[in-house]
């Protein structure tokens, strides 16, 4: 019997889960509006909330950090809404999912301004590939 390291099993579960989620995005928006899909998707997330409830530790974090993460959640929801709208508007899952997955490209472009980080050579190559990918996927 093949023995896989636990971290590899978890990683593969994550890989398949995110991949299947892309398919489910298309399957759901083929049947309901993007707005309806977002509402029920968030309910799907909320179901898992008890598993990650931090308890009293929540009070130890600064308001600033909590605000950043809450804002991240709002932007995640907004991005999820528009990706579902893209599929609802006729975008193929096999095109929209890879296209939207290049979002780190924008992070790299704005990180020097907000995080005072420098763009490395690898990130520069990633940005080039990302732009090329959007151009080709849109063709």
């Amino acid at each position: 019997m093949i023995h896989l390291a636990p971290w590899l099993v978890y990683t593969l579960i994550a890989l398949v889960s995110f991949g299947v989620a892309g398919l489910l995005q298309k399957l759901s928006t083929d049947r309901v509006s993007a707005e309806c899909a977002v509402v029920w998707l968030v309910i799907g997330f909320v179901i898992l909330e008890p598993l990650v409830y931090p308890g009293a530790a929540l009070r130890q974090y600064s308001v600033r950090s909590i605000a950043f993460v809450l804002l991240a959640g709002i932007l995640n929801a907004a991005g999820t809404w528009t990706v579902l709208a893209a599929m609802r508007s006729g975008g193929k899952a096999s095109v929209v999912v890879p296209m939207t997955a290049v979002y780190p490209m924008v992070v790299c472009l704005i990180a020097p301004i907000f995080l005072h980080e420098h763009i490395t050579l690898l990130q520069g190559a990633g940005i080039t590939c990302g732009l090329g990918a959007i151009f080709l996927l849109a063709s």
Binding site: W7, P54, T80, A85, L137
Partner: protein, 145 residues
């Protein structure tokens, strides 16, 4: 179906671009918040952050229309399976997985969607678009290293 209309004139293209910008903001604020807040608590708070938009959308009539129950089931599964993926990812990091290897491997999820879309949805891409998927994958890997 995706039409043969130029992408720049299609809604799906611009919605995708807005997604890229939105998720970039998500990643940026998450990075700022994660300097103090651990991943599981962060997931809890992120979901709390997602909820107001879902509540606001309920004021939109199209969000309340339940014409197809399968669509609802797929949407709930979409949220739950994404959450499971995130939890698995956190577990992978905690189980001693090399951060780069875990990040690169899990970031290849568009390839899984791509394969499933071909098999389940019978989607077909042009050669240029297929090359685009390859470049997108290369881009994602380069950012994950």
């Amino acid at each position: 179906m995706q039409t043969s209309e130029p992408a720049l004139k299609t809604r799906w293209f611009w919605y995708s671009i807005v997604t890229v910008i939105g998720w970039a903001g998500w990643a940026l604020f998450l990075k700022l918040g994660s300097e103090e807040i651990p991943s599981d608590a962060s997931l809890f708070l992120q979901t709390a952050g997602m909820t107001p938009l879902a509540v606001l959308l309920l004021f939109n009539r199209s969000a309340r229309e339940v014409k197809d129950k399968k669509g609802i089931v797929y949407s709930i599964l979409n949220g739950a399976i994404t959450g499971v993926g995130i939890l698995a990812l956190l577990a992978a990091y905690r189980s001693g997985g090399n951060t780069s290897v875990v990040s690169v491997t899990s970031s290849l999820y568009p390839l899984v969607t791509f394969a499933l879309a071909l098999v389940v949805l019978h989607e077909r891409l042009t050669k240029k678009q297929t090359l685009g998927v390859v470049l997108a994958t290369a881009s994602i890997v380069l950012f994950s290293i």
